[in-house]
Amino acid sequence: MQISSEEAIRYNRQLILPEIGTQGQIKLKQARVLIAGVGGLGSVSAYYMAAAGIGSIRIADRDCVEAGNLNRQILHGTGDIGRPKTLSALEKLQNLNPDCNIEPIQEIISDETILDMVADCTVILDGTDNLKTRKVLNRASILKGIPFIYGGVEGFTGMVTTFIPGRTPCLECLFSRDNGHNEPIGIIGPVPGVIASIQSLEAIKLILGIGGLLTNNLLVFNGMDMTFRKIEMDKNPDCPICGSNADSGLFTPKDLPASKKALK
């Protein structure tokens, strides 16, 4: 695979980085990233994946744009209210970078749909807004061996870490409990911007195979006092998903359509 003269111009400012160069740009072009949710986090990471020249960007979201999304979900505008988020995202991302293959999936992320969503993906970027969906992403990450970059925000704070199956704890290790909070969470727009920017940088480094990743560390950001802290994490030996006594099935047969049962 080569890069064109147009691509050499578009990506010049990253091509001149010795850590990237032409070979790195080709790696980005060959990658396929799943962005699970194009809300506050996914808006930002989708823009940066397209801008960086990721070859294929699969965006999954079941929701339509609402006016109350627009303080933070910067992919979408006033004219998009009522439209599917994936359609709005498709248009913005194609406008930013027509060379990217954008694959919109306007579907709920569930055990029934996730294996098709992650098929052939290099990395999963978390843009979801609840633990239940994140646990679906986590199980698929473990099952298919795909790195999963978690991000979460609330108010003026956010968290991010990179899970690599077999090498690091998984999301279930961290969040074994889920009280199912469903009430709206207050969020100021720049906070998902910060967290999703870090997720995006992690994804780019992971694809390129460069630098140190946020593995075995949970990065906690407090935007009120402008601090970043890292919390060291080990694998949870009792984790039901990645621990030594984990359920090797991950997806229960009743959750899977017939075509997926062969994966178990």
Binding site: E154, H181, I231, M233, N236
Partner: protein, 70 residues
């Protein structure tokens, strides 16, 4: 737990009973969020260890509520 000790909880100095466990401190500071994350001296502690981990003078504890919004 007759003697007391000084520890740092969420960035603030606190006096607590000596040899307090994380389980004791969670109740002592009324951290009842079921999704609570506990950091002890910069390391993540899993819930099944809360009753076993004893805190010592000068230790730093952070009670953190997970960020699940997106």
């Amino acid at each position: 737990m007759n003697e007391t000790m000084e520890i740092i909880v969420n960035g603030h100095k606190e006096i607590v009973p000596g040899n307090a466990t994380l389980s004791f401190l969670i109740h002592h500071f009324k951290e009842y969020d079921g999704d609570l994350i506990v950091e002890h001296n910069g390391r993540f502690v899993y819930p099944q260890k809360y009753a076993d981990v004893t805190v010592r003078e000068g230790d730093a504890i952070e009670f953190i509520n997970p960020n699940i919004g997106g």
